[in-house]
Assembly symmetry: C2
C-alpha cells in the first residue's frame, strides 16, 4: 500500500498506539511516525521499537503532523487537547482511541481550532496487557474500529482516515456518539465491571483460601480474571465517563440476576434450562459473525473436536 | 503404563466420558471399556469412536466392571444408581463426575451395596461443547480432579482411582464434600450464572440490536458468551443442586457490585482504581499456578508480547 498520512503523531504510547505504529510500518501507510509519552522510559522503548522520533512534549510531537492520534486515558484527553491545539497544522486530522466517545468529544472538541478535522474513534481491540512493549501489528486484524463523526465532518477526510484504519486490518463502522456509548456499555463496559466484581468476591472469601481459588480456577472464573487484569487507569476512566450507560446496564443486569436467583431458590429448573438455551444461540451468532474462534475453550486444549 | 482397571463402565457418554475413554486407551489403563447412554445415536457414535462395547441399559453395562463412572447430569444420578446397584460386582469402585458433590452423595450413596466402594469425583475440565464427539484424550491434562472420599473410604481403592486419574493427566486432590461445593460455587458456578445473566441482558436490549451486539462483541462480552454456551441441562442441575452455596456467593456478588456501582455514581475514581489494581494481582497468581496461558487474549492474536 502507499502512504496515506505523511506524518503521524501518536500521543500516548501504550498497547493501541504501539500496535498502530507496528501496523502502519508493516503496511507502509505513514512516512514518518512521531511519538510522545509522559514517561521517559516509555519514550525510550518507543524510540527503540516503533517510532522514528519521540518528543518530550505533546505540543512538539504534533507539529507538522497530518494525523494526530490521542491514545491517552480518557481522563487525560482534555488537557492534551488544550496543550496541542495551538500547534496543530491547518488541515490536520485529529482522532482518538478512547472507549467512550461522549466524554471525549466534550473534552476535546472545544479545543480543536477551525480548519482542523476532529474525528473521534474507538478501536474494539485489546489484550489484557498494556504499555509500549505490548503492541503488535496484527492487533486490529478483523476487529471493529468505530468512528463517530459529526454532521459537520468532512467526507473526504473521513474516507481518508477510514482507509488508514482498513489498511491496518480493521473493519470500520460509523455511528452516533450516544449510541456508541450505549453499545459498548453492553458489550464491553458492563461485562468488565462484572468480571472485576466476581474476582473481588472471590478475593474476600474467608472460608475459601486464595490458594484454593487460584488453584481451582476452572473455566469460568479463569476467564473473568483475564478480563479483570486489564489496565486499571483506563477502566477507571471508562466507568467514570460512561457513567449513565453503564449504570443503566447494571440496573438491568441486577434485575435479570435476581430473576435467575429466584428461579434457583424456587427450584424452577424449566426457567433455568430455557434461559441457558437462549444464551447459547447468541454465542453461535458471534462465531458465525467471525468475532471469535470456534475452537473449544479458545483452542487452549490440544485437539479441537466441536462436539455433536 | 499398565492396566489399572481391567473393565471400566462409562454410564453417560458425553464430553467427560468420551475424553476419559480416549485418554485411558491412549495410556493403556483399561483393558476393556464398556459404555451406556440413553440415546441410540450416542451409543452408535461411542461404539465407533471409543467403546469396546455399548449396552442398551446401564444395568447391563456395569456387569463385571471393576470401575463404574457415572457421567450423567446430576439430576439423573440417583435413578441410575438405583438401577445399577443390584448388578455391581463385589469390590467394584463407583465414581461420578458431577460438578456438585453434596447432592450426588445424597442421591447415590444410599444405593451402593456393601462391598462396593463409592468415591465421588469432579474433573475440573471442560469445553463449551458436549456430546460423544466432543471428547479428546488431553482434556484432563494438567487439570484438577477433586475427589471427596468419606472417612470410611478404603485407602487402597482411593489410591488406585487416583493412579488412574493421574494416568490420564489430571492432578488429583481430595477435600470434604461441603467445602468442595463452596469452592466450586466461587470459581465456577457463580461465574457461569453471571455470564448467562449478562448475555441475557444484552439479548433483551431494545435500543441496541442483536446484530450490533453480535458484531461488536469485543473482548469482555465475547468471553461471557463462551461461558454461557455450555450445556444447559448440566448447568440447570448444577444450580438446582448447589443452591445454598451459589445463593451465598450471589448475595456477596450483589453487595460488591452495588459498592462499585455506587463508586461509579459518586465519581469515586480512587476506589475504582484501587479495586481494579487488586483484581489484577489475582490474575497473576493464576498464571503462576499454571492454570492458564499468559499469552495475551488467550493467544487469539498473532504475536505474543506481554506488555511492559
Amino acid at each position: 500500500m502507499s502512504v496515506i498520512y505523511p506524518r503521524v503523531a501518536l500521543i500516548g504510547l501504550g498497547l493501541i498506539a504501539s500496535s498502530m505504529a507496528h501496523a502502519m510500518r508493516a503496511q507502509g501507510l505513514a512516512a514518518e511516525i512521531i511519538g510522545h509519552a509522559r514517561s521517559a522510559e516509555t519514550r525510550a522503548v518507543a524510540r527503540e521499537l516503533f517510532c522514528d522520533r519521540v518528543c518530550e512534549t505533546a505540543a512538539e510531537a504534533v507539529q507538522g503532523a497530518d494525523l494526530v492520534v490521542l491514545a491517552v486515558p480518557i481522563g487525560a484527553m482534555g488537557a492534551i487537547a488544550a496543550e496541542i491545539a495551538p500547534h496543530l497544522k491547518p488541515g490536520a486530522v485529529v482522532t482518538d482511541v478512547g472507549s467512550v466517545k461522549g466524554a471525549v468529544v466534550e473534552a476535546v472538541a472545544p479545543h480543536i481550532p477551525p480548519g482542523v478535522h476532529f474525528i473521534p474513534g474507538h478501536p474494539m481491540a485489546g489484550t489484557e496487557y498494556s504499555g509500549p512493549r505490548s503492541g503488535f501489528a496484527t492487533l486490529f486484524q478483523n476487529r471493529w474500529w468505530l468512528l463517530t463523526p459529526g454532521a459537520e465532518t468532512d467526507a473526504a477526510e473521513l474516507a481518508r482516515l477510514r482507509s488508514l484504519l482498513e489498511g491496518i486490518g480493521a473493519k470500520v463502522d460509523t455511528m452516533d456518539v450516544a449510541h456508541h456509548d450505549l453499545v459498548v456499555a453492553v458489550v464491553s463496559h458492563a461485562p468488565h465491571l462484572i468480571a472485576y466484581t466476581m474476582v473481588g468476591v472471590a478475593d474476600h472469601m474467608r472460608r475459601v483460601s486464595q490458594s484454593e481459588i487460584v488453584q481451582y480456577s476452572a473455566t469460568g472464573f479463569r476467564d473473568f480474571t483475564r478480563i479483570a487484569a486489564s489496565d486499571p487507569t483506563m477502566w477507571r476512566d471508562v466507568f467514570l465517563t460512561n457513567k449513565d450507560a453503564v449504570l443503566d446496564i447494571l440496573g438491568r443486569f441486577t434485575e435479570e440476576l435476581f430473576v435467575l436467583q429466584r428461579a434457583i431458590r424456587m427450584g424452577d429448573g424449566d426457567h433455568l434450562h430455557a434461559y441457558f438455551t437462549r444464551t447459547r444461540a447468541i454465542r453461535r451468532g458471534i462465531i458465525e459473525a467471525g468475532q471469535d474462534t470456534a475452537a473449544p475453550d479458545f483452542g487452549r486444549g490440544a485437539e479441537p473436536p466441536r462436539g455433536g
